[in-house]
Amino acid sequence: MTLRAVLLVATALFSIGIYGLLTRRQAVALLLSIEVMANAANLVFVAFARYGGAPGHPLVLFALAITVAEVAVGLALVLLLYRRHGDTLLELASEAKG
């Protein structure tokens, strides 16, 4: 397994995340797509730590912590959206529009 193959897999994962982000309308499904994209970034960090010796491993740990924080706040926002509107479709969250 080479660096190039791993990078291609990570790119494919990120593209799949972009597709999900553009097609999904449920807030939780958007969070899932973001998870897939963050996962691709972590994979690149680990790949460059193995090939070339970049300090990727500590960065992956920090990225994990940030992702967990993001999911916690995101799900709290989804809960709030559900309480206000009775559904979690993202179009309902139009209060923030200027």
Partner: protein, 183 residues
């Protein structure tokens, strides 16, 4: 070369296919379970890239923590069985074009870059990782802990806020959006 082919098959089977299911599955709970599958597959790739500690952390925090949290989030906010998505076809085509264009761009860059300078090196052991976290990356470590604390507090504050029952107008709007027609 056969090792490369084997890796490609493994990656597609363990990571890519579940990821595609995550973004195309119509049932939200199933999408979350497919996300768990793709995260586990990524943990396998971490193990292949000589990062066993990160593979373990990935399984513990992502599959054990994030996926459980997501499933709770769906269970709490789900009203009817089989929450489905209404996705119009043109939007899907445009999204596929955008994702494909991004993939083509980055893949082209990957193939045109000379990666032969980057040879396989020994990855840091778990001990080295722990020492570097508390030595070189101490400031980032502390900032991450403050970030986690802020996230917990803000999640509690947001989730505890009690709003009255949704008023009929927005409820009608929600129903119209569910049907797929814009009000």
């Amino acid at each position: 070369m056969s090792g490369e082919l084997g890796f490609g098959l493994l990656a597609v089977l363990l990571v890519i296919f579940p990821a595609i299911r995550v973004v195309t599955c119509r049932d939200l709970v199933r999408a979350i379970l497919w996300l768990a599958a793709t995260l586990l597959g990524t943990a396998v790739l971490y193990a292949f890239l000589r990062a066993p500690f990160l593979a373990g952390v990935q399984v513990l925090t992502y599959v054990g923590g994030v996926v459980t949290l997501m499933i709770f989030g769906v269970m709490v906010t789900r009203k009817h069985e089989g929450t489905s998505f209404t996705i119009d076809g043109s939007g899907r085509l445009r999204a596929a074009l955008a994702a494909g264009a991004f993939f083509a761009l980055v893949a082209m860059a990957i193939f045109r870059t000379d990666l032969s300078l980057l040879t396989a090196v020994e990855t840091p052991s778990t001990q080295d990782l722990a020492l570097s976290l508390l030595d070189r990356y101490l400031l980032a470590f502390e900032v991450a802990s403050v970030l986690l604390l802020a996230a917990i507090v803000s999640a509690v504050v947001l989730a505890r806020r009690r709003d009255p029952v949704p008023d009929p107008a927005t409820a009608r709007e929600a129903a119209a959006l569910r049907e797929g027609s814009t009000p």
